[in-house]
């Protein structure tokens, strides 16, 4: 945010508000969230369910109504509705590869569709290239999602996001449905692609360790608000300001035996 105005940030979110429903049903999902990131950066958003972290990504994509605030790419406000030009620059990878791929479409069809929409001529080459980029051979082209493992499916979802050569990738819990060893492979893949293609990432996760591994800077969200801004060096030495972030740090280290979790917890109930 203290960046020179000469080169505007790649992606900038200014005081974003997302509200659902009305009256008693009114839910403020995102309340005044702001952040900015430069080109080729990986920015992290960490929080638990209901914190509004995924809603931020969906709002950027135009999948959620924005009540107030601005979204700028290279200093230009995004259009509403988003349109094709936006899709060429920004793509999203969703959490669950079991749900985000069409069960009756072959991988080839899944990957060709964005190319057809955007009128590319060399579809075949691009599909094969995209599969290669994510470490899947051309043999996977005519398979169906149910013939792939979870990790392979998530690779296909990443290939689909990359096939239009976007500049920004929005990653919504890309590894939380995967086993630990597969998570390592997918995270390494994402790191490699970012370096090779100069991509900018916004990574959303509930796992602080994943965010710390991938991102230099991050925000912690709770109940729709930004609770804390951190960078990885502060996180490494556990230099955090709020109890909530401390609890997240604690949780990623495993279970801790302390007074609160021992038998004493029965006598005095928390809160």
């Amino acid at each position: 945010m203290q960046r020179e105005t000469v080169t505007p940030p790649k992606l900038e979110i200014e005081d974003l508000h997302v509200v659902f429903g009305q009256g008693t049903q009114r839910v403020e999902a995102v309340i005044g969230v702001s952040f900015a990131l430069g080109g080729n950066e990986c920015f992290g958003i960490v929080g638990e369910s209901g914190s509004g972290k995924s809603t931020v990504l969906r709002a950027i994509c135009g999948l959620m109504p924005i009540r107030a605030g601005r979204i700028l790419i290279d200093g230009e406000p995004v259009q509403a509705p988003r349109g094709r030009a936006f899709a060429r620059r920004v793509q999203m990878v969703f959490q669950d590869p079991y749900a985000s791929l069409h069960p009756r479409h072959t991988i080839d069809r899944v990957l060709s569709e964005p190319l057809a929409i955007h009128g590319f001529a060399d579809q075949q080459e691009r599909v094969i290239q995209a599969l290669g980029d994510v470490g899947l051979g051309p043999a996977f082209r005519f398979r169906f999602p149910h013939q792939l493992s979870g990790g392979q499916r998530q690779r296909v979802a990443i290939a689909r996001a990359l096939i239009l050569k976007p500049e920004i990738l929005l990653l919504d819990e890309p590894t939380s449905a995967l086993d630990a060893s597969v998570q390592a492979e997918v995270l390494n893949l994402l790191t490699r692609i970012r370096q090779e293609q100069g991509l900018t990432y916004v990574l959303v996760s509930h796992d602080l360790a994943v965010i710390d591994h991938m991102c230099e800077r991050l925000i912690v969200m709770q109940n729709g608000r930004t609770l804390e801004r951190l960078d990885a060096s502060a996180l490494a030495v556990h230099d955090v300001a709020t109890d909530y972030t401390r609890a997240l740090l604690q949780a990623s280290a495993g279970y801790k035996w302390d007074a609160a979790s021992s038998g004493a917890a029965f006598a005095k109930r928390p809160r």
Binding site: E48, D179, H213, L235, A247, A251, S261
Partner: protein, 285 residues
């Protein structure tokens, strides 16, 4: 390591050479391939990745695997009682009363069209003759024991009115009402937020210790199991590849366990590529 546990008079649960297989169109799939372990009144963790057979192990103990699945074992004994020899009717009495199971997601294991209170009371009345008012007061007490702040409200609520953490506490309460000897918890906290996770585990541990129950915690999370349990079994491709005291996980020998430990990102662990697991065919041989 099993020698130390063997000093106890009789293990609570004894499993010898357990095999679970499924006949499919493409041949027989062996989910569990001859595993043996015993459990005292302790916290035993079973870790492994998806498809390693850890859930099938838990279900096989309860005889919850239906055809075409096949369960074979030299012996599955609870407190010396051979579970494989029991009739289906007697097995039903064992389930819930002697061995209880907590599943992963409370959304799918609570009845959506029945109030929580009725489900709890039912769990109690199936196994013992108690009056309705006594069942009710015991159910409310149990909800309090799992640290639900407003037990009266939860008693009247439907499952969809509860958060994930609350739902899982209700599940634990329901499982513990008949006072089982053994609790099998299959990924009990995977659907929960990390800050709620510690609370639910703490509740489970305190209950287990107070009642002197045995606990099998099935999880994919090596860190969690290592910090929570006394002993850990690491499963890979239907076999136990390593058995460890939880505190000595860092001394794990098997390359699979080591690989699993190393591939987790750590806070402050730097940005270097994570070591990936090279699966060797010999591990599953």
């Amino acid at each position: 390591m099993s020698g130390a546990a063997g000093a106890a008079p009789r293990p609570l649960l004894q499993v010898e050479d357990l095999r679970v297989s499924f006949r499919t169109r493409t041949g027989v799939v062996e989910a569990v391939r001859g595993i043996s372990f015993s459990l005292g009144r302790e916290r035993l963790g079973i870790v492994g990745e998806s498809g390693s057979g850890k859930t099938m192990t838990g279900r096989a103990v309860l005889r919850l695997i239906r055809p075409p699945g096949r369960v074979e074992a030299r012996r599955i004994a609870l407190d010396g009682m051979d579970l494989l020899a029991l009739s289906e009717r007697r097995m039903r009495a064992v389930r819930g009363e002697r061995i209880a199971m907590v599943m992963q997601d409370p959304k799918f294991s609570l009845n959506p069209v029945m109030r929580i209170g009725r489900q709890l009371v039912e769990a109690l009345q199936v196994h013992s003759k108690v009056s309705r008012s006594e069942a009710r007061s015991r159910a409310l007490k149990m909800l309090e024991a799992v640290q639900i702040r407003d037990p009266e409200r939860v008693f009247r609520a439907y499952a969809n009115e509860l958060s994930g953490g609350m739902g899982q506490r209700v599940m634990i309460a329901m499982m513990l009402i008949p006072g089982p000897d053994l609790l099998i918890a299959d990924e009990p906290t995977s659907a929960l937020d990390v800050t709620v996770r510690a609370q639910v585990l703490g509740i489970m541990d305190a209950l287990v210790r107070e009642r002197g129950m045995g606990l099998i915690l099935i999880s994919h999370d090596l860190n969690l199991v290592a910090t929570f349990c006394d002993r850990v079994l690491v499963m890979y491709a239907g076999r136990i590849v390593e058995e460890l005291d939880a505190g000595r996980l860092s001394e794990a020998r098997h390359p699979y366990t080591r690989g699993l430990l190393n591939c987790l990102p750590r806070i402050g662990g730097g940005k270097a590529p994570l070591p990936v697991l090279d699966r060797e065919a010999a591990w599953s041989a």
